[in-house]
């Protein structure tokens, strides 16, 4: 672990300003991802800005009938919130399928959105990885890529984004709220928040330098059956092989997928085809997929999940 300095910011705007001013800064929230990466020397920040004490730990109703989730709300607390369980059950279910109870107690809403990929080569500093060392190559392309992405990939990177929470937020049309170093704030629709790898897989989101997530806004509830199905290689404590977040009701469905891409994968045009069945949905939703011999099974698996969820929702 590279030596670093540490500071607690007093306000969100100050945190953003400091992070932009100090070279090599990183925010630290729960630390469950960042500290692991620092111990492995994959992240080597010189300065940590602690954002745990900025009053961003509340869940509040919005004027539009939705909820504003502070960036520091812990995954455990968010999953247990009465309003979330009642109106946004898909989010509760997604959160509870992730990590372990201990990790969820520490993990925050903002940190969860920004957790980094679990591509095994990203974790092995002796191997090429464009995400870790831009321009070094991608070891996963010809290597072990069973759990890597099949959609939205590039020949520079085929990593997935591992978050379960984000997949549920995508199906709920959440927006990410931020403050920038100059004090301005903005809202980013979750659909645009994570980037596909393209030629710059090390740039993972739309956030600018020093920009701090202050919260996530959920629009008014939409009713329907809320489902989160996470397929994994053991019963708990495993990242998704494929997951589906769905809000389904007779005649309509919203469907977002995890484990397929570097962002939660949702194609609204495919949702319009639910009446034609899962195969039609999959054909549109997964158009342009690029698979490897090891991860090709993810597409039929996602289609089977889709069929099962549509059946459960009597769509």
């Amino acid at each position: 672990m590279k030596p670093f300095t540490y500071q607690r910011a007093a306000t969100p705007a100050e945190a953003a300003r400091v992070a932009a001013e100090m070279p090599g800064s990183r925010f630290i929230a729960g630390g469950t991802n960042l500290l692991d990466l620092m111990k492995l020397q994959i992240e080597t920040p010189g300065h940590l800005v602690d954002v745990n004490h900025l009053g961003l730990d509340r869940i509040e109703p919005t004027a539009e009938g939705g909820l504003r989730i502070g960036a520091m709300v812990r995954n455990t607390d968010l999953a247990a919130d009465k309003r979330v369980r009642r109106d946004y059950a898909v989010l509760s279910r997604a959160l509870l399928s992730g990590a372990s109870a201990q990790l969820r107690n520490k993990a925050t809403t903002g940190g969860n959105l920004l957790q980094r990929t679990r591509c095994p080569y990203f974790y092995e500093p002796s191997k090429p990885c464009n995400k870790r060392v831009p321009g070094s190559g991608c070891a996963a392309l010809g290597g072990f890529n069973r759990n890597l992405a099949v959609l939205g990939t590039s020949d520079k990177c085929i990593a997935t984004h591992p978050s379960d929470m984000a997949v549920a937020m995508r199906v709920l049309d959440a927006t990410v709220e931020t403050v920038s170093p100059d004090g301005t704030t903005r809202s980013i629709p979750i659909a645009d928040f994570h980037r596909l790898p393209g030629d710059t897989p090390h740039i993972e989101t739309q956030l600018g330098r020093g920009e701090l997530i202050t919260g996530v806004m959920l629009p008014a509830p939409i009713g329907g059956l809320h489902v989160y199905r996470k397929v994994r290689d053991r019963a708990s404590y495993a990242f998704a092989v494929v997951s589906i977040a769905a809000v389904v009701a007779p005649g309509r469905a919203r469907l977002a997928y995890g484990g397929l891409a570097h962002k939660p994968w949702r194609v609204e045009a495919a949702e319009a085809l639910v009446a034609d069945g899962a195969a039609a949905v999959a054909k549109t939703a997964f158009a342009g997929a690029r698979t490897t011999p090891e991860n090709a099974f993810k597409l039929p698996l996602a289609q089977r999940l889709t069929a099962s969820v549509l059946a459960d929702g009597k769509v």
Binding site: P3, P120, Y123, P125, A139, F144, V231
Partner: protein
């Protein structure tokens, strides 16, 4: 004492304490954090410096340049060792001056290579496997050492390595210690057999995944080295360290009082004790090293992958006529073969048998023993193949196994009977308790909502190994018996069962017995490996206690042969005296030792079992969830049913892992295990583990030792994975021959 004829009635048979359940005597220390592990002897190693091993970033080749200047200048750094400045050490073939200790277990006996435990570090620029030590950085704090380790700059010349077992297997050779066994005429019998299968199974590399990482603290007092390290067999550790450093083994004291799991990973030394010892000597202060979790996968050892071809032929009556088992495995030149055909020698009858193992050289990290080496993966293949043939014959899998039972070594004939063998009873008892009769023999027929339900069975066999073992005992004036032996407790319950043996022998309650383990200053013992520990170490202690009883009886003026020890008293001929009074304030000590004669040659000795599993397979996603499990074991005297049951539960859990998820993935281009942490190398978690039940059949094996016990810990894993795989087949109709049975493989073969 040489154990070379069947044991008669003895004190252990009274079963006052032995044979009863006692919770682990070390339990309170463990749960309160007071049991020190290797890295935690802080006050014994004051002012320790911290070492971090830098591992090779390539898998085969040479270091062409190494620049340590930046690391040396980093804050807190006191030493950077590389092949350029590391002291000369000695490899395999060099016994420590003064020789190794007597090593007497059957497998390792006689012609074993001197210095076979040696592990020299940083002896040249060659890189033989990924994460081999290439530098060692020592600093005032752990954080400083880790940061400086990052600053060691190394340039390599990469050479082409051999990393793909399937591609290399045909270059394999017959290992010296695993000759082919060829009985009758396999080829013609197999060709003529009316029913047969010819199937190939593969098992992947697996990681031990014990909780405690390899760790060591080294401290020198003059020329005397003390090493607190995590090691399963103390005298092997002493030999390895003394041999590598080229010092007399009396100059090395190894302490492994508590061990956070081993499963075979700590049968050998790796970089940590050697580098800690070298640096501590050079710096004149203690040095501590613990491996990181990722280092464990590629720096230390693993269970090697196998390719296994099973050819089984039977008559229409269901009797096996031909048994062929070919095993291919790979390893570094000094590594052993994975003996996956071993159980096939003994498990079933059949006149024509051909078993062959071929080991080829690979440039992957060292393959070595992991829980039930040989059997654990051999049974994954054999016991599925048996089901495949049963299905072909239209026979019930249990009846098919019972039809092919044998009461003698099928290679040697009736002159080598089994000492005890209750496989049939295990199968029948289990079938009854598990509700086998409700199984639908046609796959894919039972549904519970979206789940497909299946039931499977497998036989279990594990060779009963025995090993010389000694102990020292002392009864002190306060009536407390202290037991000292090099035996280790790797979480298995050795402390507890040895206390039981001591209490039984001396007629004391459990709270009057103190057990001290894992210190090379105690008498040499069997140690924890090959499931030989409980039986062998208990037998050594038995003879030590017998000597102590004689000494006490003599001191009391009694005739030692008819003296009784009970309730803290010794009595004979109607007279009785308090033990405390007899031994006086100085106490009485004795030593004893068991050595084993040729009973294991004259009798086939093994523990047997039957495993049953019920699984549910998600018809949408092909995810497998084990619903319930039962193991029925016949393993000689069960010294402590509670600790033995825990061993079986652990084995069953690991068996689920082997069947469904454990897989160290080899990157065949770079030659290393890619998924090198516990987030990506999956072992079962609590949610994967269903209701599990264990039944021990009453059995005494008087040919195994005066304790009449056999190994249990490894029996627990043997066959479990095959029972799960057979259940998956019964649930779905999918027969996967490429372990582990992950959902992608099952989905591809599922009918629905």
């Amino acid at each position: 004492m040489k154990f070379d004829s069947a044991a008669g009635q003895n004190v252990i048979d009274q079963g006052r304490i032995v044979g009863k359940s006692y919770p682990r005597v070390d339990g309170p220390l463990k749960v309160s954090g007071l049991a020190p592990y290797a890295h935690e002897y802080h006050s014994d190693a004051p002012n320790a410096a911290y070492g971090v091993i830098v591992g090779a970033g390539i898998s085969k080749g040479r270091i062409t340049a190494i620049d340590t200047s930046e690391a040396e200048r980093a804050p807190g750094v006191v030493l950077v060792m590389t092949h350029r400045n590391a002291p000369k050490q000695f490899g395999i073939g060099h016994a420590p001056p003064g020789g190794t200790g007597p090593q007497q277990d059957e497998k390792d006996g006689g012609g074993e290579k001197p210095g076979r435990h040696n592990k020299p570090q940083l002896q040249g620029p060659e890189v033989r496997h990924f994460d081999q030590s290439v530098a060692f950085v020592v600093a005032e704090t752990f954080e400083q050492a880790r940061d400086a380790a990052r600053l060691v700059r190394i340039t390599y010349a990469v050479e082409k390595g051999r990393f793909d077992l399937a591609a290399e297997k045909d270059k394999g050779e017959m290992p010296e210690d695993t000759p082919d066994s060829n009985v009758g005429n396999f080829d013609s019998a197999f060709a003529a057999a009316p029913a047969k299968i010819d199937v190939t199974y593969t098992t992947p590399d697996q990681a031990h995944s014990m909780m405690e990482p390899h760790a060591s603290i080294a401290r020198w007092d003059g020329d005397q080295l003390t090493l607190w390290t995590s090691h399963q067999i103390i005298h092997w550790g002493v030999d390895g360290v003394a041999g590598t450093l080229g010092i007399h083994k009396d100059k090395v004291r190894v302490i492994s009082a508590y061990i956070g799991g081993g499963f075979g990973s700590k049968l050998m030394i790796y970089g940590d004790p050697i580098l800690a010892a070298l640096a501590a000597r050079q710096l004149g202060r203690p040095v501590k090293v613990a491996l990181t979790r990722p280092q464990i996968y590629n720096h230390t050892s693993h269970r090697p992958a196998t390719i296994q071809r099973l050819r089984l032929g039977a008559g229409i009556d269901g009797k096996l006529l031909a048994i062929g088992h070919d095993v291919w495995c790979g390893n570094l030149p000094e590594g052993e073969a994975e003996n996956a055909a071993d159980q096939t020698k003994l498990l079933y009858a059949g006149a024509n048998r051909l078993l062959r193992t071929r080991k080829t050289e690979l440039d992957l990290p060292l393959g070595a023993s992991m829980r039930a080496p040989g059997e654990a993966v051999g049974l994954l293949a054999l016991e599925c193949a048996m089901d495949e043939l049963a299905e072909k014959l239209g026979l019930d899998p249990i009846e098919f196994r019972i039809l092919n039972d044998t009461q003698f070594d099928p290679e040697k004939g009736p002159e080598r009977p089994f000492s005890t063998r209750h496989l049939v009873e295990c199968l029948r008892t289990g079938a009854d308790k598990f509700g086998w009769s409700k199984r639908n023999p046609k796959p894919g027929m039972v549904r519970d909502g979206r789940w497909l339900i299946g039931i499977g069975v497998a036989s279990a066999i594990r060779n009963n190994l025995v090993m010389a073992s000694g102990a020292r005992v002392r009864l002190s004036g306060d009536g407390v018996l202290t037991i000292q032996t090099q035996m280790t407790d790797i979480g298995t319950g050795s402390y507890t069962i040895l206390a039981q043996i001591g209490a039984e022998m001396l007629g004391l309650p459990m709270d009057k017995v103190r057990v001290e383990l894992g210190d090379s200053s105690f008498p040499q013992s069997a140690g924890s490996g090959g499931s030989w520990g409980a039986n062998s170490a208990s037998a050594g202690l038995y003879y030590a206690c017998e000597n102590l009883r004689n000494a006490i009886a003599q001191r009391a003026g009694f005739n030692s042969t008819d003296s009784q020890f009970a309730d803290g008293k010794v009595s004979a001929g109607g007279r009785s005296r308090n033990l405390a009074d007899v031994v006086g304030k100085d106490g009485i000590s004795a030593e004893g030792k068991v050595e084993f004669g040729d009973l294991t040659k004259r009798f086939a000795q093994a523990a047997f079992g039957a495993h049953f599993a019920e699984v549910a397979v998600d018809s949408v996603t092909a995810e497998v969830r084990v619903r319930r499990m039962l193991s029925v074991c016949a393993a000689g005297r069960i010294i402590n049913p509670q600790t033995a049951r825990s061993q079986c539960l652990g084995g069953m859990t690991m068996g689920i892992g082997a069947a469904l998820m454990e897989d160290q993935v080899v990157d065949k281009r770079f030659g290393y295990f890619v998924n090198h942490d516990l987030a990506e190398y999956h072992v079962p978690v609590h949610a994967d583990i269903p209701d599990m039940e264990v039944i021990f059949l009453d059995e005494l094996d008087d040919k195994s030792s005066p304790i009449k016990a056999k190994g249990v810990g490894e029996l627990g894993i043997c066959g479990v994975g095959a029972a799960v795989a057979n259940a998956v087949h019964n649930a779905t109709g999918a027969r996967i021959r490429d372990y582990p049975l992950t959902l992608d493989k099952i989905m591809a073969k599922m009918a629905v």
